[in-house]
Amino acid sequence: MSITHLLFWFLTVLALGSALMVIFSKNPVHSILWLIGTFFAISGHYILLNAQFLAIVNIIVYAGAIMVLFLFVVMLMNLNTSAIPVKNKWLGFAGVISGGCLLLVLTAALKDTAVMRNDVQMNTGDIGLIHNLGMVLFKDYVLPFEVSSVLFLSAMVGAMIIGKKDTNETS
């Protein structure tokens, strides 16, 4: 039981636990906080896998930007009081069941295939380092990079169109 294993199991429990809390905590704000927790756990996993770049980006983009945005919206609508109950019993129940079934099917399909035994390169290897990724990203992946910029552009335009108050609507 090496340290890596311990860390792996710890982070896994953390991730799953806080993920469950996300969906079961009544109060949206709590959900958000738990989600952030999950993200940290996942970032931990990244570090464990020696993918520092992604670990950092994950913290910055997700836990940092996105989640704050969520928090901001929730506060804006001041939904911090546990406003909405879970939807009607059997529907929630059905949701859990079907979700669980999906999990079962996948695991059942995968559990005894040869691939599963493959080892994963832990906390070594330099592909996850920013230097390497940067090279690849700007050499081989220029096109998608540009495309994603266009994507952002459209998202931005959209956010503006949707978000901004129409002048005629004030009148």
Partner: protein, 455 residues
């Protein structure tokens, strides 16, 4: 390549011209210019006269198939702009931005029509979808529009997640994102899982039952002018992606998943056609009919052979033109229920006649493009030799489809009434006429399209 770049650039152009040009009417002309430019560069590329080329590391692969499809998509969009310029202005004040978004989505379309890597497929589909989320909600004060956009967005994002899971599994199995990577005869579980995830995600995009639920609501809630675009260009683009993906990635293991597609097809045909029968609103009816048509297009994926591919191209053209035309007529009417069409033949014989052509084409009557569209995909399906029952089922459903398309014709020609119709310009009429002529031409000589694939 040039088309991709230009589409993106023109989107930006539209945005900025929005800042400086106050006259909304201008937007239409700029957009039309843009489309014409796109068509031009596309043609140049097709005939190898001039093309932008730089090493994309094999992320994209430009084929005649893709280019021909681009032409169809741009052409359809051109018709669409020409027919709906007025309505753009009625939706809201950000006219230029609407056009910009449509150009961005066109950029996505061009990506999807030529992707060679799952990454590009993913980006392309996102680039198509995100503008649509917004356009769906562009009529901000209208709760229906809000609802449409919300539903579209939530379910769209969900399906994105599913698609990514699929891609991840394929990557895990093959160690590469290139389309050809998993293309091997057998199918190990991990690939199978990835395939099913992808299938679900794309089935959602092309609104194949039982992943179609968003379609009627979204199409219904979205401002009609944008529904017309969503239901045509976007949908057929997703189909091209679908076909290219399953052709490239799982072509060799066709037999493994044909049954799944068969089931999806049957379900789509059934739900689309049967449910459309009862609709009172023509807009919603067209939404369901678009599901039904998707069922037929699925046949091409199901058969995955030459006829299927040619069929999908013809279908893309026939379906897009006919639907855009039909929507363009619908949009001119105040009342979107079937009764709204009563007596149209008397008050506006031209509109009625054109609409008849489009509806006949959608039904698949010979001498209209719709016939050969259906004809080719059926031929493909029969050729594939599997599941003949599916074909029989399909044609019976086509017979059902006659039922609801002809209800509109009956309303226009055989019922008395005085429909309120917005004023229609001469240009509008001309464009409509051109669309109808195109339908007939393809209906008489489909070879023009099919031949182009092999030039």
């Amino acid at each position: 390549m040039a088309a991709i770049i230009l589409a993106a650039i023109w989107g930006v152009v539209m945005m900025f011209s929005g800042l400086y040009i106050k006259n909304k009417a201008m937007a239409k002309y700029i957009a039309v210019t843009g489309i014409l430019v796109l068509l031009l560069v596309n043609a140049l590329e097709y005939y190898n006269i001039w093309r932008i080329d730089f090493d994309v590391r094999g992320l994209q692969k430009f084929t005649a198939f893709g280019t021909v499809f681009n032409t169809i998509a741009f052409g359809a969009t051109l018709l669409y702009f020409l027919l709906n310029g007025k309505e753009f202005e009625e939706v809201g004040k950000d006219v230029f931005d609407y056009y910009a978004l449509i150009f961005f989505s066109l950029c996505g379309v061009t990506l999807v029509s030529s992707f060679n890597s799952l990454l590009m497929l993913f980006l392309g589909i996102e680039l198509i979808s995100i503008p649509m989320y917004i356009l769906a909600g562009s009529d901000k004060r209208n709760l229906k529009s809000n609802e449409a956009s919300l539903k579209y967005f939530l379910m769209g994002a969900f399906s994105t997640g599913i698609m990514l899971m699929g891609i991840a599994f394929l990557y895990g199995a093959t160690g590469s994102f290139y389309v050809g990577a998993p293309n091997t005869p057998g199918m190990e579980p991990m690939v199978a899982i990835g395939m099913v995830f992808l299938l679900i995600a794309i089935a959602f995009k092309v609104s194949a039952a039982p992943f179609h639920f968003w379609t009627p609501d979204v199409y219904d809630g979205t401002p009609t002018v944008f529904t017309s675009y969503m239901a045509t260009v976007v949908k057929v683009a997703s189909f091209i992606g679908f076909l290219k993906l399953f052709d490239g990635a799982f072509g060799k293991s066709h037999g493994e998943w044909q049954l799944l597609v068969a089931i999806l097809t049957a379900a789509t045909l059934f739900i689309g056609n049967i449910t459309a029968v009862f609709q009172q609103s023509v807009k919603r009816m067209l939404a369901y009919s678009s599901i039904a048509q998707a069922g037929f297009m699925l046949l091409s994926v199901f058969s995955l052979n030459t006829f299927g591919r040619e069929g999908l191209i013809i279908y893309a053209a026939a379906y897009s033109i006919a639907s855009i035309g039909s929507f363009a007529v619908l949009i001119k009417l105040k009342d979107h229920s079937i009764e709204g069409f009563n007596g149209l033949a008397k008050s506006h014989p031209f509109l009625a006649l054109m609409n008849v052509v489009f509806l006949l084409s959608l039904t698949g009557i010979p001498a209209t493009a719709g016939f050969f569209a259906k004809y080719y995909v059926l031929m493909g399906a029969i050729k594939s030799g599997q599941h003949l029952w599916l074909v029989i089922f399909a044609v019976l459903m086509a017979a059902v489809s006659a039922y609801y398309y002809f209800r509109v014709i009956q309303a226009m020609y055989f019922k008395e009434g005085t429909p309120e119709v917005k004023p229609v310009s001469g240009a509008y009429k001309t464009t409509l006429w051109v669309a109808a002529v195109l339908i007939i031409l393809i209906g008489l000589f489909p070879s023009v399209l099919t031949k182009a694939l092999y030039a």
